[in-house]
């Protein structure tokens, strides 16, 4: 029996900065268009996590009057620092020696979740229909193979897939154009990239995992507007990553750590590296006596234009980090994601009104300032595959002397899941025990995310081969899922591989890093997952 269906002009999957920008721009250009956004979080912002130092360029284009509105963009960057850390000391890098992309005056320290909530209000005022708690779980195709729309997940199934009393069949949403803006490693985006060979001829995508905490500190420890980054300890020369420390409003500090998922040692635990980082003498003092109030994690895109797939296909577009528009050396993706949304909206209007081919979207994006800055940034991330020190030297030459105009493009050679070395070849890492004040365990951290999934529902972390974790991954890599998952979803208990899927915070790291690509993340029942506040 056919499912119920609703018809729209444009269906957008994911209420992040890219999707919301597309929706707002579409309604500005044509108020009569029917536009809806599906969002898997229980409300807009619940699944948004980002640093975030925000460059307003795309917002200036979308809503030029935003400074006169009551936006959550309040704290202008007033001071910048960059530290190289060794185990016990730190070296402050003069800011005039930083590449231009890492200078942040004119930018703002914001909560991206709150910005999305505000953008959602603007979208709704324009008549966009936003449906939080409804994950798009399936792509629908027309008989000619083009994308027809998406379907929402069936609700009310038990863990074996049987219908419970509350069962409700998913719905089909059909659209002239479907826009996928699920963010990094969107599970439908992943399917589309494969089905339409969108990554043909591109380098394998590169990812990182970002962990973030929000702290409340005393007035003496707080310098509103201070933006600080570190590189070096506790990571070794071969592992790509670093920290961010942003002093936001209300005596809050947004503190985070990003680690490239191309790390080699299966014993590495991104969560514990982050905790350990806080114990550095020059970091510890910033948080002593303070209180951690939020925790979360999310994978992010690092591949740049070398890995950027084709962004259009018949009937659909990939925008923001569902394609991969983050600017890695800038450590920013919101503005480029929003720009891709702006360009997508303009292209969709031309497609619907003048039958223009959707390929104009990619053409326009490549002509935009967003693509130009991604082009200039392209060689930074791959140069760090030579190690931190050579990476910094090269980046200095590439970014400061040549401003990204060197006549060659470095490649990303491996996918992240291929980077792990067998456990037998790598040293074990002993992480210090958490003290419960500055450093914490995964259990108390997952509690702060507010994550929850209705207990009796199908497991949304699927194994292609259920025997593989014990028979292969445990033997070969000491099952790294126990460590790369920031909230302890995966455990080995008495020779059994346990998936605590109710703790999942939708960061997608397992889907990326599992060495045999054995874990597939699919959407759980709507409204499940973290309930981030101002992340």
């Amino acid at each position: 029996m056919a499912r119920e269906a609703m018809e729209y002009d444009v269906v957008i999957v994911g209420a992040g900065p890219a999707g919301l920008t597309t929706a707002i721009k579409l309604k500005q250009l044509d108020p009569n268009l029917n536009v809806c956004i599906l969002e898997k979080g229980s409300e807009v912002g619940a699944h948004i996590l980002s640093g975030n130092v925000f460059e307003t360029k795309a917002l200036d284009e979308l809503l030029p009057n935003w400074k006169n509105e009551k936006t959550p963009i309040k704290t202008k960057v007033s001071k910048e620092k960059f530290l190289f850390l060794s185990k016990n000391s730190s070296l402050s890098w003069p800011t005039w020696l930083l590449p231009a992309v890492q200078k942040n005056h004119n930018n703002y320290i914001i909560s991206l979740a709150n910005l999305c909530r505000w953008l959602a209000e603007q979208a709704e005022k324009l008549g966009v229909e936003i449906f939080p708690g409804f994950p798009a779980s399936e792509v629908l195709y027309n008989s000619d193979g083009s994308v027809k729309g998406v379907a929402t997940l069936d609700m009310g199934l038990d863990k074996d897939g049987n219908k419970k009393d509350t069962y409700q069949e998913g719905m089909e949403l059909h659209a002239k154009v479907t826009v996928f803006s699920e963010g990094c490693r969107g599970h439908l985006g992943k399917e589309l990239i494969k089905k339409f060979n969108l990554d043909e001829g591109k380098n394998p995508q590169q990812y990182g995992i970002g962990l973030k905490e929000i702290w409340e500190v005393s007035e003496q420890q707080h310098q509103e507007g201070l933006v600080m980054h570190t590189a070096g300890w506790p990571l070794d020369n071969k592992t790509y990553g670093g920290s961010f420390i942003y002093h936001a409003e209300n005596k809050q500090i947004y503190l985070g750590y990003v680690i490239g998922l191309d790390y080699q040692n299966p014993y590495l635990s991104p969560f514990d590296e982050f905790q350990r980082f806080k114990t550095h003498p020059s970091i510890r003092k910033m948080f002593e006596g303070g209180k951690r109030i939020s925790f979360g994690a999310r994978a992010l895109i690092e591949g740049g234009i070398q890995s950027l797939p084709k962004m259009y296909m018949p009937g659909a577009l990939l925008i923001g980090c569902d394609a991969g528009t983050l600017n890695m050396p800038k450590i920013k993706g919101s503005h480029t994601a929003m720009k891709s949304g702006l360009v997508a909206a303009e292209s969709i209007i031309e497609n619907i009104k003048n039958k223009a081919d959707l390929s104009i979207y990619e053409k326009k994006f490549k002509e935009s300032w967003a693509y130009k800055e991604l082009y200039i940034a392209r060689n930074v991330k791959p140069s760090f595959s030579w190690g931190l020190i050579l990476g910094i030297i090269f980046t200095g030459i590439d970014q400061i002397l040549f401003r990204g105009r060197l006549p060659f493009t470095l490649k990303h050679k491996h996918a992240d899941h291929e980077a792990l070395k067998p456990a037998s070849q790598m040293p074990k890492i002993e992480y210090p025990k958490p003290d419960g004040k500055l450093t914490f365990d995964k259990t108390s951290s997952v509690y702060l995310t507010g994550t929850n999934h209705t207990e009796n529902q199908p497991v949304h972390l699927r194994l292609k081969d259920p025997t593989l974790p014990i028979n292969y991954t445990l033997k070969e890599y000491d099952e790294p899922a126990q460590r790369y998952c920031p909230v302890g979803v995966y455990e080995i208990q008495k020779e059994k591989f346990v998936i605590n899927s109710q703790n999942c915070i939708h960061c997608k790291t397992c889907d990326i890093k599992e060495p045999s690509q054995n874990i597939t993340w699919v959407t759980p029942e709507g409204g499940g997952g973290p309930k981030y506040g101002n992340m």
Partner: protein
């Protein structure tokens, strides 16, 4: 028959509550809000009764700032027919809420008022009882099963001694336990239909009621942190610790 069902907007039960530094309350800014869980049960039961044909109209009411309209819309998406939003800018105690509800009952003339047994934010468990007393209606609290008859309603209540069955005459006030039913999901088409259903707006100030709060909240603080547990080697050690340290044996 007509049901008035009261819904309250509270901090979502999955969110970790944060107490304000000055002890004046808890943080609600940027915090996910939801319908008070037992109120969801009350809405579900009301809609079920409507679907069974015994009830003709379900009216959902909420009291508070403009955002409580989201909570009313959710009830409308589940199947309530219309909403009433009584606007109030600041906190009102259960007595004040009961007074407002009484006023609405006099106007709407429902045969039954359904509400959650208590709200998960203040855990007062008073509004239903106060409302019944002021209306001089029978009350049935902690309801885990409802059997609606022509002029009465048979209720099963979960109490310490087991299940208690009572029958109260209509009109009555009924407060629901979480076990009453499993609330359904609102479907997309119903959410869209709910956007078009009417919500009547009133202002608490204009109802001519004395809503002065009578309780002064002195301080809100976090409960003391639980100490980590310990492992004992054997039963003898356990017994000895229970006897000598915990002194519970």
């Amino acid at each position: 028959m007509k049901i008035l069902v009261a819904v309250k907007r509270v901090i979502d039960y999955n969110v970790q509550i944060r107490v304000k530094e000055d002890g004046s309350g808890v943080h609600t800014e940027n915090v996910k809000m939801s319908t008070n869980p037992p109120d969801d049960n009350a809405v579900e039961e009301s809609v079920k009764l409507k679907e069974s044909g015994k009830v003709k109209e379900v009216v959902a009411i909420s009291i508070g700032e403009d955002k409580v309209q989201e909570t009313i819309r959710k009830a409308l998406a589940i199947g309530a027919d219309k909403g009433i939003h009584v606007k109030a800018e600041s906190y009102i105690e259960p007595l004040g809420i009961a007074k407002i509800l009484k006023k609405i009952v006099e106007k709407e003339k429902p045969d039954m008022v359904f509400l959650g047994k208590q709200a998960i934010d203040d855990d007062c468990n008073q509004t239903g009882q106060m409302l019944a007393a002021m209306l001089n209606w029978p009350q049935a609290t902690f309801t885990s099963k409802v059997n609606l008859k022509d002029k009465s309603v048979e209720i099963i209540r979960e109490i310490d001694e087991g299940l208690e069955t009572i029958e109260v005459n209509l009109p009555a006030v009924v407060s629901c336990d979480l076990r009453l039913n499993e609330p359904r999901f609102a479907s997309l088409p119903n959410i869209m239909k709910a956007k078009k259903k009417p919500i009547e707006q009133l202002n608490a100030k204009d109802l001519g009621l004395d809503l002065t709060n009578r309780i002064q909240q002195i301080k809100v603080e976090e409960p003391p942190k639980r100490k980590a547990g310990i492992k004992v080697a054997n039963v003898a050690e356990l017994v000895s610790k229970l006897k000598n340290e915990a002194k519970v044996l």
